[in-house]
Amino acid sequence: MTSKLKIIAAAALAAVFVQPVAADNVKVGIITTLSGPNASLGQQMDQAIKLYNKLHARDIAPHTVEIVLRDDTGPAPDVARRIAQELITRDRVNILGGVVFTPNAHAIAPLATEAKMPLVIMNAGTSVTTTLSPYFARVSFTLWQSSFPMGQWAHQAGIRSVFTAVTDYGPGHDAEAAFTKAFTEAGGKIAGSVRMPLANPDFVPFIQRAKDANPEAVFTFVPAGRQATAFMKAFGERGMREANIRLIGPGDIVTDEELPNMGDVPLGVVTMHHYSSVHDSPTNREFQAAWKKEYGPNAVPGFMAVGAWDGMAAIYHVIKQQNGKLDGDRTMALLKGWKHESPRGPIMIDPDTRDIVQNEYIRRVEKLGNALANIEIGTIPQVKDPWKVFNPPK
């Protein structure tokens, strides 16, 4: 017998005797934003999901995963809801994932509950979201998770007066509330605050307003992607650095994939976030290498990609555990308490809240070689969503 034949024979034996299971095809419905002004966010998600499948398909053999990708066009809950409905009732998917925007997740909640259809939230970061359906689990982040410790850190770092500028929608409100609570409880003063409309072409007037309030720092949250870049530009142009006003906030304003677009303005910006593409760990180096191999040397995966990546890891986990036959309640039980070594560090799904528990990193934007990077300068380990701590379920 040649060695080749031996292998085939062994495989045949294994197939017949050792693993007498039928191969199941698990349908995963992905709802994300692939068109409109926010298409870049969905693209990162989509790329991460595709890459994960490519690299990990054998982990769940003989089962296969089929991705049904649908575009919700942006913050459009009615579209998201209809797509979810279609995915559940027509495409008969076994599990849902994705969702960039909070309102979209909220619109899906009643459906998920009724259909007992788990949704692995890969981005939408408003704290209240996971309380809306017992079939929601989140692998991304909450704004409270980053902004609350940011408030504490700011005071420790000697900042006493802060102007807050956030986008006027759920996550922005969360960021503002979390930061303000932590910062004022520590003894800091809010010099002024402004909420900026979600659809907005020009940040300059808001920043001018912040400048005129003459704070020591501006705390800001705007949606990651183009708005963050535009904000950063305006911040640099206004001469905020020259006026000795620092910029702090959750990591959305300096996402890794956007940093190359921002020029030198973000240098020195300090943010609190759960992922930096230069996070120093073997898992992350592996992840980054795989990404660049797949999408080119200049491609940078950011937190959106990592959220989707870990979301797929969670989905693979429940597929493996259930041997390809997914049940909504069982899936949720498996997700609760799931632990994983993510590119961002160790993560866990809180069994009580189904929300993520993860490290938060204090990062400063610095030059790394020729490019800018979020360099970690401190770690707050295993942060639970503070909002859920302050608002325990009744």
Partner: protein
Amino acid sequence: MPSALIGILFDGIAYAMILYIISVGLSVTMGLMGFANLAHGAFAMAGGYLLVTLMAALGLPFLASLPIVFVVVALGSIVFERLLYVRLYRAGELDQVLFTIGLIFMAIAATTFIYGPLPQAVRLPAYLMGQVDLGFRSFPTYRSFLIVIGAVLILALWLGLERTRLGAQVRAAVDNRRMAESLGINVGRLFTTTFALGSGLAGLGGALGADILAPTPSYPLEHIVYFLIVVSVGGLGSIRGPFVAALLLGVMDTAGKYYVPDFGAFFIYVAMMGLLLWRPHGLFGRA
């Protein structure tokens, strides 16, 4: 707070320059041929992308890229005008609207295909970044540059329109198209020329404004409302009207965001409604 007021005026004027340079071509197109070209913003978007490409892929300097953008977009627009738009001059307004919305959709998809959904960033040269100190106060360099170059462009545009024969022909044709033709002016060709110039200007405006209104695939849809406000408030076919309208819009928008930030563009629309009810043909429009 006079300091804030100066800042608002300054920012508003810089913003207005961009709005005007992009929109003025649309005003002339609609005034001269009655063609409702909603896809006008696509030329501005093309200008922005072209600038990014020229600078990133070919390594051209920022200032050298600008005239190239103008010429390429202008020439490109002639292709569209001759191949497609010319078929719709006699069509109704609604058909024109539908047609140009269709073009916008196609442009969005094509741009996404080529450049991806991420907004493109312009690497401004170092001498245009930061602040300039004018003694009593410092101003952002790039916006100062915008105001200066915008003023130069507008001056050139006005002189061109007021002092050249081509400009006189354009005004004559807007005044009375049939009479202009009866005197031997080939209005069709004149229109192609002005369409190209207007589109080229839009492209240039898109390139100059790329730092403020970043080029993204959905650019033509996102900003179309502001372009239309400039044109309708200014008055169709007018050159000065849109400038006044752009100034009003730019300053009001900036002031609104500064003083009543959470009202968004509400007051802009209130003001526009008021203006249009007061003067249905725009500030400088003809009945």
